[in-house]
Subunit: 205 residues, 2 copies
């Protein structure tokens, strides 16, 4: 890779990271392209060079980066925990600490854009859906590794992800770690039940 290519990749990465942070904090529609370029420190003309599709293409790139980063964080916290219940509590605490440290601004990096833009942009919707599915798969894999059978593992993973996403929303709006703490404790109990074979039943057909 030559120097020009490396420089181009760094600029692209800076634009993506700046967009990811701004989308996480204030959402898709409130974030302007000029604001992203300014926050990134990248040259003004570089945005359309790297993202000819404009804001939508940049959003897809930013969501991919955020989604992969959160998946890695979730998996690291899960791997470091002695059991699944402790892992869920650790993930909720990680998110609560990040929210508090950012003055309750850094919640889920996908949720705001997902709700705002999924009706108006199919690429944005699909990217968000893929990452939510990936996070869910990480949780389900850990449940299976703990001895929970399919499809209970998949169903419990959906409930765990939904509850954490909802808790992130409530914590941000309340400006309090309370919802994440309560949901972490509740899901710890639920994970224990799932491992013990008492996973939630399948929905009625």
């Amino acid at each position: 890779m030559n120097e020009a290519t490396r420089k181009g990749e760094r600029t692209r990465a800076r634009l993506t990271a700046a967009a990811a942070t701004l989308f996480q904090r204030q959402g898709y529609h409130a974030t302007g392209l000029a604001e992203i370029v300014e926050a990134s420190g990248a040259p003004r003309g570089s945005l359309y060079f790297h993202f000819p599709g404009g804001k939508e293409e940049l959003a897809v790139s930013a969501l991919r980066e955020s989604g992969a980063r959160w998946r890695a964080r979730i998996e690291a916290a899960v791997d470091a925990a002695p059991d699944l219940g402790a892992a869920v509590v650790a993930v909720c605490r990680l998110f609560a600490d990040e929210l508090a440290a950012s003055d309750w601004q850094h919640g889920c990096p996908l949720a705001t854009v997902a709700l705002e833009a999924s009706a108006s942009s199919e690429p944005v919707r699909r990217t968000c859906a893929e990452h939510f599915t990936g996070w869910e798969a990480s949780i389900a894999a850990r449940l299976v590794a703990s001895g929970v059978a399919e499809p209970a593992a998949q169903q419990t993973a959906t409930l765990v992800l939904a509850a954490i996403e909802g808790a992130l929303l409530l914590a941000r709006v309340e400006r309090s770690a309370r919802p994440l703490e309560i949901v972490g404790a509740g899901l710890r109990a639920l994970a224990g039940l799932a491992v013990a074979g008492g996973a939630p039943p399948a929905p009625a057909p």
Copy 2:
């Protein structure tokens, strides 16, 4: 009340209802005041007469209306159900049907605006927080009426609300009722446990 006052109240109600629908569908920042006036059918000059505080004041009014309407719907579904588990399933089904009927656009009427605007507008944040707290109180009251002791009732209510909010997000992004169906079934089992005295434990101090 004279005719002019009644007409004024109708105009105000139309503006509020139009804003509530647009905010639910596309969020706060994507919705312009001209679009709200047009959707409402109200006279162009009426917006600042009824809402001198502009978009923020209109948003607070719209969120109050949406919040109260959803609370009434939640309470009606809960009152019609034979037990708490059935009530949770009924509420999830109600929301799934509404999402599907609106081409996956009508999710939670507060969540999008709450995530987008709670960092930038304290009145919007406070209004959303009050309504989430009110919905949680409705769920907790039903748990207490079913024999669950405090503080377990409050904690279970937080988990139920968080899981339903998360499921609404995932369902909207996936364009599928699946997350709401799975979460409904999981929460039905959890509600049964809570009533049987096995509510999730309090978070560690």
